[in-house]
Symmetry: C2
Subunit: 376 residues, 2 copies
């Protein structure tokens, strides 16, 4: 994997670049739609390419390991061949899901014992095992196995957890470097900075991660409930330590405002379930602001969802029709809203990219943020 930087914003830390993988190019800053179980919920693969214009999607180690299972994925020749998505894929390591979905789990030095949320069966994830699993899934970008601390988190726990995450990272790297890709294309491993909201822990963690000199680096453990200002402070602090010639990936973030702020702080890659999850609950992201389509006021608004954005969902379907579908719990409602929100998120990062390249990012961001925070 290569990363080349194209332009810097003169008034912030924002930059644009290109990541090269064996499945094609990714132009940064980029948003990656989340395809937890090998599908971006309610969106066809051709829609991801043609309408959303996604350049890379996520898969989830925990979900894919449980279902369809590694035997199926290996027989298929990896996730790309299984689901027909031919562009790059990043898999998160499953750490977060083990903590959040599994009722009973035990974290030990060796790894994590957990029960499947599907059938209650018992499993163990270790740093080595999770590397092997992601090798088999066939992700282009593999994430280290970490512990994502909750918020708030007391200092003692945050420090211990971070230290274990660092030891696990060493084991991940050892295993990753000792193994080969299975399907003929290259894979790379991103380490993850932890340390909760403690500046000294974040510094230690960023330094440890930076030392590993991998192709890209991630910031985890943020957007878990802390105030946005605290999150931005941590990102700024960490980004000053992480190498600037490597892509920086802020995990699980976030709202359109969060993304623009983080771009200004030098983040290159984002993922979040928000555009698809909120879509299913009738929350729309548009170029004019946020819409709760269930509100009474949209019931006889026959204007397109988001004419200025363009795209199929935004121009073909009306607010009144989508409101009817969402209120009626029709599948098409989830389809339209998901398509709109993902199209919007990709538009947003592409606009940011354009504005950085043309030197107008900071001005544009300030205006856009005001607009995007409006509730229509």
């Amino acid at each position: 994997m290569q990363f080349s930087i194209q332009a810097f914003d003169p008034q912030s830390k924002a930059r644009t670049g290109v990541i090269t993988t064996d499945h094609g190019l990714i132009e940064t800053p980029i948003f990656m739609p989340v395809g937890t179980a090998g599908t971006v919920k309610a969106v066809h693969q051709r829609e991801l390419v043609e309408d959303v214009r996604a350049e890379i999607i996520l898969g989830n180690t925990y979900h894919l390991y449980l279902r369809p299972g590694l035997d199926i994925l290996e027989k298929a020749g990896g996730l790309h061949r299984f689901n027909g998505w031919q562009r790059p894929i990043l898999t998160d390591s499953g750490g977060y899901q083990v903590y959040s979905l599994s009722g009973t789990r035990k974290i030990k030095e060796e790894g994590v014992t957990f029960k499947s949320h599907i059938d209650g069966s018992k499993h163990i994830f270790s740093p080595e095992g999770v590397m092997d699993i992601q090798r088999t899934i066939g992700a282009d970008i593999i994430m280290a196995f970490d512990e994502c601390t909750p918020y708030p988190c007391d200092y003692g726990y945050a420090r211990k957890s971070m230290e274990m995450t660092h030891r696990w990272l060493t084991r991940c790297i050892d295993r990753f470097d000792a193994t080969e890709p299975k399907y003929g294309y290259r894979q790379t491993l991103f380490p993850i900075v932890q340390g909760s909201t403690y500046r000294d822990l974040r510094r230690q963690s960023a330094e440890f991660v930076a030392e590993q000199q991998r192709d890209g680096n991630a910031i985890g453990g943020l957007a878990v409930g802390e105030p946005a200002e605290e999150m931005y402070g941590m990102i700024e602090h960490v980004n000053a330590i992480l190498p600037s010639d490597k892509p920086r990936y802020l995990m699980g973030v976030g709202t359109p405002e969060n993304i623009l702020e983080a771009i200004a702080l030098g983040v290159d890659m984002f993922d979040c379930v928000m555009p698809t999850r909120n879509a299913r609950h009738g929350i729309l992201f548009t170029t004019e602001g946020v819409i709760n389509i269930k509100n009474e006021k949209w019931k006889d608004d026959f204007s397109p969802l988001d004419k200025a954005l363009g795209g199929y969902a935004g121009t073909f379907y009306s607010k009144a029709y989508l409101r009817h579908l969402i209120k009626s719990e029709e599948i098409l409602g989830a389809q339209i809203a998901s398509l709109q929100n993902l199209t919007f998120y990709l538009w947003l990062v592409k606009q940011a990219r354009y504005q950085i390249n043309t030197g107008n990012f900071t001005n544009w961001k300030d205006n856009m943020t005001k607009k995007l925070m409006q509730r229509l």
Copy 2:
């Protein structure tokens, strides 16, 4: 509405034709995807046009009356403008839904009192009211308000019900003919033959319906549990009486075999929830036979769903991937399976049309039926 017959099959009663409406042509025999609440479940409007190649879809009076409601539909300028479907729409009268969905309903001469399945609110459907509702929905083809008898149904009830359906038909026609379309394009009314599985009642009903000399005629009250042979017998019996120069619509039917048999008996139009409802449960209709995608045998079958059919769903996605999605209850599973099944159903009637036009229908039907009844 005009109907012109193009060709007759020499060995059966099958025929091909063209229905002309103000929203475009319908080439018969035709299958009409069911869009109960103004959406064909899990399928985008452009997919209906470009992939399924649907020529007409159904809406449901009961559902649309309750939600979004007539005020919204009238403000939108009718259902076509509300949901963006620019080709013809047929609405069923809601009679069937009143009986099947509403826990407590009272059928009287005046009409039916029922409670909404959504909020329990009380409503009355009368023949006159249901004509007005369908005028407001803006369907190109409006169905008479009838009582659909269950199976089995004793002779006395079937006769009384049929007689009331006939009186209701007269009231429907009077009201329809005394009112005007609301949106500048023409609408037409189809009466419905009832009479359960009794030959004398079906004859009486078909004669009464034929006498009305409307643009097209429907056969209701079949495919409600009776053996297929009994259904075919009734269709043959009724079709000998219904005028042959008007389209014949067999309501709510059915399996691919049912459709081919009914085409051979002179039926021109079909609708059924089967392709979309079964899709959501993982039952696929393909050119090779029926597939229950949940079966273990498909878990590592990476071949396309239905290569011979062509189309996006059939060629892009594999059986193993769809199995994974359906087992995981992912929305995309419903989307893919619905697209496949509807594409297949439209292909089936278009193939039938081609075979009738080229004089090979009966042979083709016999071979195809054997294939389609296979469980793969």
